[in-house]
Structure formats: C-alpha cells, structure tokens
Symmetry: C2
Subunit: 242 residues, 2 copies
Amino acid sequence: MPHAPNLRLVREHLDCTRCGTCPCCLKSWLDPDTLRAVAETSLIRGPFAAGSAIYRMEDPFRSLFVIEQGAIKTESPLDDGNLHVSGFYFHGDLIGLDSIGEHCYNHDAIALEQTWLCELPFEKLESVGDTHPQLHHTLTRQLGQRIRNSDAVLLRDRYQGAEKRLLLFFRSLCERNLAVVERGRCRLALPMSKTDIASHLGLRPESVSRALGRLQQRGLIRNHMKTIEFPNIDRVLAELSK
Amino acid sequence: MPHAPNLRLVREHLDCTRCGTCPCCLKSWLDPDTLRAVAETSLIRGPFAAGSAIYRMEDPFRSLFVIEQGAIKTESPLDDGNLHVSGFYFHGDLIGLDSIGEHCYNHDAIALEQTWLCELPFEKLESVGDTHPQLHHTLTRQLGQRIRNSDAVLLRDRYQGAEKRLLLFFRSLCERNLAVVERGRCRLALPMSKTDIASHLGLRPESVSRALGRLQQRGLIRNHMKTIEFPNIDRVLAELSK
DNA sequence: CGATCAATTGAGTGTGTTCAATGTCAGTGG
DNA sequence: CCACTGACATTGAACACACTCAATTGATCG
C-alpha cells in the first residue's frame, strides 16, 4: 500500500505530485499543471491523535481535507441531543464537501486513529479553478459522486435488515481497501467502535451485537474485538446478492 | 404565485432573465452577463403530460433541468425490482445533479402533472462556467446543498416514526411553497400519490394510510383525497419540535 | 357501467428497540 | 503486580411499531 512517507512532516506545502494518495483524491484527475497549482495552495496538517477533532461544527467552513493517512468519522447532533455518525473516511477520501455553501461545517470531524491530512483552502481552490477549469470539473464530479453515495446509504439502511446492513457496510470498507488478505482469509481491522458503526447504520449497539452474533453463528464472519474475519468471502457475497 | 407565462411555448431559447422561476434556480445567484450566457445554452421543454418520462435511466446523461412549472418525481429500481421514489421536485428546482459524472442518468424522472422544463445541456454549462467562474461557484454551492438535503432525508427517515416522518415531509413541502393559505387554514394539494409518498418515506402504503388516520384522529390534519389540511398549523409545529 | 388502480381497514407476525444486568478490555495509580 | 475505573460490548426479556397478507371501499377513465 503506497503511503506518502516522512516528507510530510518537514514541508509546509504538500507536493501532491509525489503523494501516494491516489485514486479517490483529486490527483488522478488533474493534469500536472493544475495539480501543481492546487499543491501550492494546500497545507499539511497533522498528526491528529485518535479522538481529537480536525474541526467542529462551530468552526467557519474554510477548507476541504484529503486524508493522507489515518481514518476519520464525521458526526452531527440529532434533535434528541445524541450524536449521529454520518460517515467514515479513509486514505484518499475528501471530506467537507457537504459543508460547501454554508458558513460553518456541517458536522464534527474526529480522528479515529493517528491521522495526517492535506488541507485545501476552499477559496483558494475556487480561485485556482477559475484559471484551471479542469479543477472545477473534477470537483463537480466528486460532488455528484458524493450525492450518489449518500443516496446509496439511504437505501441500504432503509430496506435491509441489520445483518445485511452490516455485511454491506463491511463490503464497502473492503472496497475501500481496508481489508487485509492473508492465507485466503480476509481480515478487516475496524478503526471505529461498534457503537459508532451502530450509529452510522441507524441501529442500536445491542442490535449490532446481536446481528454480529447471528452472522458468526452461521459461520459467515468471525467477530473478535475490533477485527472481523471472513473465513469464506464467497459465502458473504452470495448472501448479499440474494 | 409568479409563473412564467405563455412565452415559453413560442420561443426556442429560454429567456432566464424574465423567467419567474427564482429563488431555488440559478437565476438569483448569477449576474446578468452570466445569466445571459446560460440562457443562450438553455432550451424549453414541454409540456410533459402527467405520468410521462422526462428522461429514463437508460438515457445518456446530457442535461440538467430546471422546473419552470409542474412537478416531478425521480425513481430508481431497488434490488427486489420495485421502484423507490428518491425525490419530488417542484417549481424552480434543479434536477439531474446526482447524475453528474455518470454516463447515464441515475433515475427515471416522471412528470406528476403537466410540466414545463428549462433544459441546461451540461457540457455547454461547463463551457460557460469556464469563462464565467460565477456559474461554477453557483453550481458547486447547489451541489453542496443537495448533499445536505440527502443527508437530512436520511436522518428524518431513519429515526422518526411514521407520523413524524409524514409531518416533516409535509412541512418540507410547505417550505417549498406548495401550500395555499386561506382563512387561516393551510391547505396542501399533493401532486403525487400516497403510494409515491410511502415509497419516498420508506414506508408501506398501508402504514402511511394508518398514520394519516391517527393524525386526523388527533385533529392535527384533515386528510381527503389528494389534499391535506392543517386546521391548526401551530399544533403541528409544536408536535414536530418535541 | 364495468375495469382498474389507489386508498383504506383489519388481524397476526416479526424485527429492532428499550431497559437493565453482566462481561470485557485498556489505562491508572497504589 | 493487582485493584480500580470508565468506556465499550454483550446478553436477556418484554415491548412497540411497522410489516405482511388479505379483503373492502373509493375514485377515475374508457
């Protein structure tokens, strides 16, 4: 897994052209010239310790962030005062999109583990876009993608039972390359708590626990601590497609 | 209620500068020059009869649409083959945003009543944006708004019971100026079927029917055919804030 | 007027929730 | 090293709410 190394600690400006963060990030969509212009506006941020806030809802919206290394959850308060975990973000993901057009951020962003970010000041980003149209087009596409993602979550969580919701969630994590495969076994190291997962899936922690228990009973997963193992990934996929 | 009149039938190009469609549309955010440039790329479409498709999922994504007059639902198939109504759109709303970055549209768009649209070919829109940055900025903001809207629906439908879901839905329609107020009474003329509402809210038609019955029982609404009346709007608002 | 689709009503079921208790793990300080 | 703490995870029993299936009424249109 290609990671941007130590460099990040010694330079103020990020050299996007060398950053290992790739497919989800802006990099792969921009020509070298535009990329350089973006890089010059971007800043290194980190490390953020697990549990610390990247930004909070009270903060004025100024920047988008790309995760260089680490993991983040976003959460916002419900009417009843409780927090709802609206998303999990990992290496290469862009966060803050849902705050565009608002004065403040739309959620708190909390590091789940030690995390480094690439900060993209939004005003500067738009200025760069004005002279490098490709950037605007790319951002627009990312936003479209983000809408589709929200809509997909809506459907998953509305019409599926707890077990399927969890399996779909795990699959989405695997698709984001969070799984480690060794000896034919697929293992997923969850950076977030089960409670966070429950909140994100619209379930109670108890329901998640029980659903995981049932899945384990059926031999589809092995659930121990913060890792989930899939002894037979094909059975899981079969389960999902029915 | 300001409507763009007859004009729309006789001209090929839309004169956005005169169209009554305003607050949600691009118009109010663009300076006259940019607006003119957009207007020159835009086309009148309509009338579409109730039940007819503006576009379908098989169609290549080429344009966004602003609703000049009428109402539209968007729906996409679920894994079980059934259709899910993902949204309702009215006068001034922009549709197609969630298809940006895809080859085809992400949903079918169906007219709920006789409907006229203003078509905005997306490629041309981006070209105009390249010379009028304000357009890109506006579009970006609309997309941010759209994400927040999806996320809000997610929360509403996940954590609220059927009755509250319905009331929140009605309120959102009122906020979009679909309600008529006369003699202190607030009346909502629904252009869509109860079944569509059920699908959109993630409920069964039976559940919607029963929930409406209970709300009527409690005197919060009056439910007759395709109109909902609110004898006492304050009680509804009180109900929602608890 | 009959056909069709939407809306309603009823009875019984199921899945997730609620509330409360117990169990597990990591960190802290004696 | 072990006892204590606090957060998280698990388990059980009773319950609530929306779902399913089925039947009936109502509206609309040919």
